[in-house]
């Protein structure tokens, strides 16, 4: 059995933990540079203001006191995310973080008697310890767990266990809402009269293959209850820009840790560029090897000086944090990186030049750049996308709340 845990309106929920005046009010968190709404409270959704609405269109309703806005505080969200993951690690046999606010969990065998009770307990613990309400869905496959999660989120207890025969649920679910189908295929599926998740599940393999290749067939298999999604498959899913791997043998050196994280950063950054996206920051993590599975997660949140898709800028930003993950004498099971704050750049930029460069060449390129910089001084060689001359621009976050879990000088005050 697999569980999918995700934070409800995650960014808004993080803000509310430390700002109780936002509770019960229509609140939205804004994208990088205070562009548009990327996380909305239920009260905000109830007003019918869609995701992605530009902030400038709503400023009047903010001035009148009707709506509240926050800039994206990734330092805070990253820390709250790490807290949730570490609780899940205590409660589950294994955890795969999928994005900053989503993780798959593999429940212990003791949970099998009553998954709903187990889910409620985990949810209550996260709510009390971290203050974030979550939805949890259980099913035999990740694709079905995603669907169960969506149903769970709408229930008062936040938890849903997919019934043994999910036919009724799949019949009511439009096919484009199935994880992995996305926006690319609905036209082709419509041509084959596949409109619901159930119709995709029951279509002949040959038809599915001709529409969406082996990827779509895997999705159909998952709907049939056959697990097909390996952790590595997230790499091809544009909704999650992340990369992680388990080491073949537990890693024990700082070099192995640093090299693996650098490689995943390069891979994930290449994927960002493929999708034409910039990231505001990332969570990097390393899991300690434990013989029975599980193992402590060590994590760090890094916010880039400005949203970027340039590997070398990211590597520079994470270098010190990578070192902080290493503990001498510890064996590591896996490492990974999850980007957050993804957005389309507002202005044209030039990094697409590198889009077709194979990963190996790319890492050689960046290695050469770093070597030159090390020899001739910092940033003598850099990609044109970084801009020529001194960097004076930073992400605009005029409505930024305090960072009470990562900065000593921004602690919450109590009277």
């Amino acid at each position: 059995m697999i569980g999918l845990v995700d934070g409800n309106n995650f960014f808004v929920s993080c803000e509310r933990v430390f700002n109780r005046r936002l509770v019960g009010r229509p609140v939205a968190v804004l994208s990088n540079n205070d562009g548009c709404c990327i996380s909305r409270s239920n009260e905000f959704k109830a007003l019918g203001i869609p995701m992605g609405t530009p902030y400038f269109q709503l400023k009047g309703r903010e001035a009148s006191g009707e709506l509240c806005f926050c800039s994206s505080n990734y330092e805070l969200y990253g820390d709250m995310s790490r807290r949730i993951i570490s609780i899940l690690r205590e409660e589950a046999v294994d955890v795969e973080q999928y994005s900053i606010d989503e993780a798959f969990i593999f429940p212990p065998t003791t949970a099998a008697a009553d998954y709903v009770a187990y889910g409620r307990r985990v949810r209550a613990k996260i709510l009390r310890w971290v203050g974030i309400p979550c939805g949890i869905g259980f099913a035999p496959t990740k694709t079905l767990a995603k669907i169960a999660n969506h149903i769970g989120k709408k229930r008062p207890d936040g938890v849903f266990l997919m019934p043994d025969d999910p036919t009724e649920i799949l019949s009511a679910l439009p096919v484009q809402e199935v994880w992995g189908v996305g926006r690319r295929l609905p036209l082709k599926l419509r041509a084959e009269r596949i409109l619901t998740a159930r119709q995709l599940r029951d279509a002949p393999d040959a038809t599915i293959r001709s529409i969406g290749g082996v990827t779509l067939l895997r999705t159909a298999m998952e709907l049939r209850g056959v697990p097909c999604h390996e952790e590595r498959d997230y790499d091809t899913d544009p909704d999650s820009i992340s990369c992680s791997r388990s080491f073949g043998e537990p890693a024990t050196t700082a070099e192995a840790l640093a090299e693996s994280l650098a490689a995943y950063t390069a891979q994930a950054a290449a994927k960002l560029r493929r999708h034409g996206l910039l990231a505001a920051g990332c969570n990097i993590y390393a899991q300690v090897f434990a013989s029975g599975g599980g193992g402590e997660f060590l994590g760090r949140t890094v916010v880039f000086p400005a949203p970027t898709d340039a590997t070398n800028e990211m590597l520079r930003a994470i270098r010190e944090e990578v070192n902080a993950l290493y503990i001498e004498g510890t064996r590591y099971r896996k490492t990974g990186i999850v980007f957050f704050g993804l957005e389309k750049p507002g202005t044209p930029h030039q990094t697409d030049l590198f889009d077709d460069t194979p990963p190996a060449e790319q890492s050689r390129l960046y290695a050469a750049v770093d070597a030159l910089n090390a020899r001739y001084g910092k940033a003598k060689v850099f990609s044109a996308a970084q801009g020529l001359g001194a960097r004076s621009w930073h992400m605009k976050r005029q409505k930024l709340s305090a960072r009470p879990t990562t900065r000593w000088d921004e602690l919450m005050t109590v009277t």
């Binding site: 310890w129 971290v130 994590g299 919450m412 009277t415």
Partner: protein, 132 residues
Amino acid sequence: MSPKARVSGSVVAGFPSPAEQYQEPPLDLNELLVKRPAATYFVRVEGDSMVGAGIRDGDLLVVDRSLRPADGDVIIASVDGDFTVKTYRRDKSGLRLEPANPNYPVIRLRAGQELDYFGKVTSCIHRFAGNR
């Protein structure tokens, strides 16, 4: 959540160091003060409403959200949107938050009003002037 440095014995050729078997990790305040990192938050005190309980203006409090409040505990709660540190009292006369300074009023919860509890204060760190 922060990784702690762990000292392990190094391997050297020749005679083993007589100190080897006595090596231990150094004392770590995190280990003492933070039992559950995922549930622990640090907050700063503003004002003297709890001075009688040894909590002074500018002190740093360690707060554990995982602990449920019991009568007599020092807790953090939100009252009308602002966070406050007070002693939690629950008895026949109902639920109230008591300051430790006669200049401040006791906060009584109205009937049906729920306490917006944040967490229990487990330690107070007071740094002397000149060491901040």
